[in-house]
Amino acid sequence: MMALTSAATLCRLPTMTPKQDSPRLTSQSLKVLKLFVESSSHAYSGAEIMKVTGLSSGTLYPILFRFEEHGLLESAWEVGKAQTLGRPRRRLYSVTRHGLVVARSALSELAVPGLRPAFGRS
């Protein structure tokens, strides 16, 4: 183990860039983005997102997959093992910084009914 005494600046290399082109945004996917914009520090399971957005499983998951692939959302297993929890582990989705930028931009450009009041903080 070596000492980490250093004065430093991190440099960003080209290979650090994820697949960050924006996916097609529909009114349904905007509902999902809106949820994450409103509480960007919170991580949601698929069932929670379905409950809040009213989207069905068959509609929601392709959206989540697409967002994850484009770096707007990221997901991780909840802490703990299934045996300990006594149920299957939940996969929790959270928004990335890139996702927040894209979401706020998209929501501000599009007049989505019921969505506009939610992002006055950008």
Partner: protein
């Protein structure tokens, strides 16, 4: 009169049958979820566990069945968009030396190399507990650390560096740093 009695008996029997059938919905939903996950071109194991966890959260037997049926119905869309497999190893710290920290990562990782140069921040201490002090980090620094954290791989730095003057926790295999600069 006979007709009326027949109707009552029939409705009772039907309600009993419906109730009995509904008890099977969660089982059927789990079977459908496993079936759909198995048909995906990748990530079958992950989706099985993830969707079973969703089923566990959804109240009501009918709701569970509907959840599973709609996944099966949208198979083509799911199969097309399901994310690529997770990279097996997280980024590993391959060298830590003053004033450079190099991080090795698979090509698909967003973080491949992080180089620390003077004089914006100071790292003091030893892994796995390092104190970062200095002016606010650049956006790229914060992103590197955050991505490493949220990807679910506790392989690099597991604490966000915002604000500064907080301890950074290296939860990685950094105990065996090798080949300085070999990246």
């Amino acid at each position: 009169m006979v007709t009326l009695i027949s109707m009552v008996v029939a409705s009772v029997i039907l309600s009993l049958v419906a109730s009995e059938v509904e008890q099977w919905f969660p089982w059927l939903a789990a079977r459908l979820v496993r079936y759909e996950a198995a048909k995906l071109p990748r990530q079958s194991e992950r989706m099985t566990e993830q969707w079973l966890a969703d089923l566990d959260e959804i109240p009501g037997n009918v709701g569970k069945l509907l959840y599973a049926v709609l996944l099966v119905v949208r198979h083509a869309s799911l199969a097309e968009t399901v994310p690529t497999e997770e990279e097996a190893p997280g980024p590993q710290i391959v060298s830590v030396e003053t004033p450079t920290i190099s991080v090795s990562a698979p090509p698909a990782w967003i973080t491949s190399t992080a180089v620390l140069n003077p004089p914006s921040v100071t790292l003091t201490g030893h892994a796995p507990s390092v104190l970062v002090q200095g002016p606010p980090l650049s956006a790229s620094v914060q992103e590197v650390l955050r991505i490493a954290d949220h990807r679910g791989h506790p392989a690099y730095m597991s604490t966000l560096v915002q604000p500064l003057n907080l301890p950074l926790h290296f939860a990685s295999t950094s105990s065996s740093p090798t080949t300085p600069g070999a990246n």
